[in-house]
Symmetry: C2
Subunit: 147 residues, 2 copies
């Protein structure tokens, strides 16, 4: 089996920003107050260097994030990984223009159902495809792009 | 946009068993002792109605599962979801034949590196593609197939 060469860091960042702009869904891992892990696919919008998510107020992901804002989410595939560690903030309001951009990308509008929006601020972003990309997989640490 | 009709429960179970048999990777969500969620793609082998996983003893997934055996994992895509809640048990040993089957499917053999194996017993299995399949998405609850 031949593996492609490891991508340059700049390429990896560009590929990651492309996925953030164009992918629709993320796998979102949160934990309940009692430590029970919870995984759910949610649509996202990448805007202003943050990810917007929305889900019903009483869904486990929503309840978990209100108790513990830490999350770990992935976009992309298991062999083309983009993995983001971040913290989520429940938004009291969102500009209509941003909510509309979310609705258009996600294919559902959270507003009529009164679903809350969460803003996820990434603290760490990693991207890798094959084993040869594991070593330099950090693109962002402590909220700062390394590239 | 037209959506396909919701699958019959029997079809959904058959599709799920097919993915369990043929998919290689899962997104595995665990939580650390302090409640920090952790998400990582890992290869799996479906055998004897359980999933085998393996990762280095000091990797976060491994440490998390030793402290808190609960996990939530997904196989398939965000629009063709198979979501499994389960508990993981660190195995002291595994028959060589099973370890070899794992290595052949995963494309890496945990034995030379002395990676431990975990056996995941599903307690709940859900499968859905579109919104019209959300309602009857439970295929297994409390460790028992409903279909």
């Amino acid at each position: 089996m031949t593996h492609p060469a490891a991508r340059l860091a700049e390429t990896r960042k560009a590929d990651t920003l492309h996925r953030l702009a164009t992918d629709v869904d993320a796998w979102v891992a949160t934990a309940a107050a009692d430590g029970t892990p919870y995984l759910m696919p949610l649509s996202f919008l990448w805007t202003a260097n943050t990810l917007l998510l929305s889900t019903a107020r009483n869904n486990p992901t929503s309840r978990n994030l209100q108790a513990n804002p830490q999350l770990h989410l992935s976009i992309g595939e298991t062999r083309d990984v983009v993995l983001i560690t971040g913290t989520a903030e429940l938004l009291d309001s969102l500009p209509d223009e941003t909510a509309t951009a979310f609705a258009e990308k996600a294919g559902f509008d959270p507003r009529p159902a009164n679903y809350p929006f969460f803003r996820v601020t990434p603290t760490r972003i990693q991207a890798w495809r094959e084993v040869n990309e594991i070593k330099a997989r950090d693109l962002m640490t402590n909220g700062t792009w390394l590239i």
